[in-house]
């Protein structure tokens, strides 16, 4: 009897513990919302996506390369899953982005619009000339940090991981990377992976700059 009771407790704790651990992180980071699940299942059409992307061009530009000012990220070549996650997170308010949120409330209300845009944008080439690079003075320091803290998720070449919603960070604009690193470190982004927050928490200003300098200097990874 005692044995049975022990095993029940053991099974129960095995079942409950991971759930409890997950509950802390899932809401804030990578739990698939109903909308994200839906758009991931929706097959996107790049041709329709090109038309649906037109209103996005005012900020992300006609080649989806964003702006080197850092105000708007490069989207071209980004993983479709990452684009979809960020779009749904901004729509739900999980990711804090009031500039974009107002524009996508209606425009991205249809799941097929999001799927189409992601299919179109993820297939666009990365125009290296248009990447806003950092000053280039801290690339080596950035490389050291990147190889110590970032490669496990973002990959050796900054290619990210589509399956896990880790973005491709290579060839992203320096100023955008720097802005987001600040947001993530200081808790202003909203949908940060808590594991990453822990990693960058102790980073000083110079570390963030070095990291952004290095990532922006990475060439677009081969797909």
């Amino acid at each position: 009897m005692k044995k049975i009771l022990i095993s029940i407790v053991a099974i129960a704790s095995i079942a409950v513990l991971p759930l409890a651990a997950q509950a802390q992180t899932s809401q804030t980071w990578n739990e698939k919302s109903a909308e994200l699940t839906k758009v991931l299942e929706t097959k996107g059409d790049p041709e329709r996506g090109a038309a649906a992307f037109v209103p996005c061009q005012g900020c992300h530009r006609s080649d989806a390369m964003g702006k080197s000012s850092g105000a708007y990220p490069r989207l071209a070549g980004q993983h479709a899953s990452v684009l979809l996650k960020q779009m749904t997170d901004i729509r739900s308010g999980l990711r804090n982005n009031p500039k974009m949120e107002e524009y996508v409330e209606d425009h991205l209300a249809k799941p097929e619009n999001m799927a189409d845009i992601a299919a179109y944008v993820s297939a666009l080439p990365i125009v290296e000339d248009k990447v806003g690079r950092g000053p280039g003075t801290a690339i080596q320091a950035g490389k050291t940090l990147f190889e110590r803290d970032c490669v496990q998720c973002h990959g050796n070449n900054g290619e990210g991981d589509a399956q896990k919603f880790y973005p491709m960070v290579a060839a992203q604009h320096y100023r955008y990377l720097l802005r987001e690193l600040h947001y993530i470190r200081d808790g202003d982004r909203g949908n940060s992976n808590p594991d990453m927050v822990k990693v960058v928490k102790p980073y000083r200003e110079a570390d963030l700059e070095a990291l952004a300098d290095y990532m922006s200097s990475l060439p677009p990874p081969k797909k």
């Binding site: 037109v54 061009q57 005012g58 900020c59 708007y72 425009h107 189409d116």
Partner: protein
């Protein structure tokens, strides 16, 4: 073809209804010039109903009235339909649109879209050059997107590709300064609300009066 003849008959500018007998008679007579009839109707309507404000060839002479010449057909159709249904309202235009018949819309839109748009002039060079920057780059700080994203280089506008989820972005080049400003204002306050997905309402709300003036000045003198 017969149906089209019908429509062209009832699409007269004065808006009178032709009785059933007359329609049958017309059918029996069978005049096979429906296309021409359309064109004449639209031109007559343009000359009698629209010209006073928009100019007979769609080039407006008064700053507050929009130039229609060269505006995309799809866009004119949408605006006329919106005026007729009340989705877009204007003290001057709404009562006039109320006199139009649904059949008038397409031929009028086709007529004005085919007219050549005259070159405009900006009245403030400084403002126009600031407007050019805003038009092409937006305002990163306040989140005003660059107008070029939808309205294309030099305000050329773009035609929605048929069959795709898409919108027609109106041609803005050489448009009247006061008209552009008034529409931006109306979008900002929400008085005009027939923009798809609130794109223009959100955008205009982020613009300052100065920016509205600048972008209007740029577009008025943008040339071809």
């Amino acid at each position: 073809m017969k149906i089209a003849e019908f429509k062209s008959l009832s699409a007269t500018p004065r808006g009178y209804r032709i009785g059933m007998t007359a329609r049958l008679a017309a059918l029996l007579l069978g005049f096979g010039m429906a296309g021409l009839a359309h064109a004449q109707d639209a031109q007559t309507t343009a000359a009698t109903v629209c010209a006073a404000c928009h100019g007979a060839d769609g080039n407006s002479l008064a700053p507050m009235f929009p130039t229609l010449a060269g505006l995309q057909e799809n866009y004119i159709v949408k605006q006329l339909n919106d005026f007729m249904s009340g989705k877009r309202k204007n003290d001057m235009m709404s009562p006039i649109a109320a006199q139009l018949k649904p059949e008038d819309v397409q031929p009028l839109a086709a007529y004005f879209s085919k007219q050549k748009r005259a070159r405009g002039t900006s009245t403030n060079r400084m403002a126009a050059s600031a407007g050019k920057v805003l038009y092409n780059q937006g305002n990163d700080e306040t989140g005003v997107p660059a107008c070029i994203g939808c309205h294309q280089p030099k305000g050329a506008g773009s035609e929605g590709a048929s069959g795709l989820q898409n919108y027609t972005y109106p041609k803005l080049a050489n448009q009247q300064i006061d008209y552009i400003k008034s529409q931006l204002k109306n979008f900002a306050t929400g008085e005009r609300s027939n923009d798809p997905n609130r794109f223009m309402r959100v955008t205009a709300k982020r613009m300052t009066d100065e920016e509205m003036e600048e972008v209007a000045q740029y577009l008025a003198g943008v040339g071809d």
